[in-house]
Symmetry: C2
Subunit: 124 residues, 2 copies
Amino acid sequence: MSVTASPDVNRVMCPSRLILEHVTSRWGVLVLAALLERSYRFSELRREVGGVSEKMLAQTLRTLERDGFVHRDARPVIPPRVDYTLTELGREAAEQVWGLARWTERRLDAVFLAREEYDKARTP
Amino acid sequence: MSVTASPDVNRVMCPSRLILEHVTSRWGVLVLAALLERSYRFSELRREVGGVSEKMLAQTLRTLERDGFVHRDARPVIPPRVDYTLTELGREAAEQVWGLARWTERRLDAVFLAREEYDKARTP
């Protein structure tokens, strides 16, 4: 695929927008951030990322694998063992979403405070 | 609202997860990244962020305003003028999603290459 104009996520048809959507998808963010800390087997990852269904996790991993962010390492052992790790490209993306996830946890109180003020200003 | 355990986006019920979802939502990412560069009026912002409907943009801005990320500055002039700017808190979030948006644009070719290899390996 060739790109004639510069990539621009603000353009509807720019393929960079879809990649950004994969990285920032509900489960994509959490999977990438988890994998930055260590590699996971499927069932471990499912336990780590609360609330994700088997189907959604498989789909998220497949999308991230196809984009070149996640490496699926299937070991020919009995019982079969599959580990998911980040590629170098995936690590670059994961560092950013990891930062965002930690920032959100850290700034929770500031958001609560802002919401209180917003709601108070709108209560008759 | 009081938080007893440490915030953890991996827990289904942790409010930090919802905030992360606001920041990384399809339009939230693009709106925050745009506002990092300058303030916008509603109609300008709608032109900048390709493909967003009036309704979705209004809803996204309202969510980001309530979370304390965006300041809505309504000027008592004729015709009425409303500018949207980032708060300090919003700037912190926006810096991270801006970085992610630019990274996606920059690494587009690497993702294309990965996809080609992925698809080739799966073609009979």
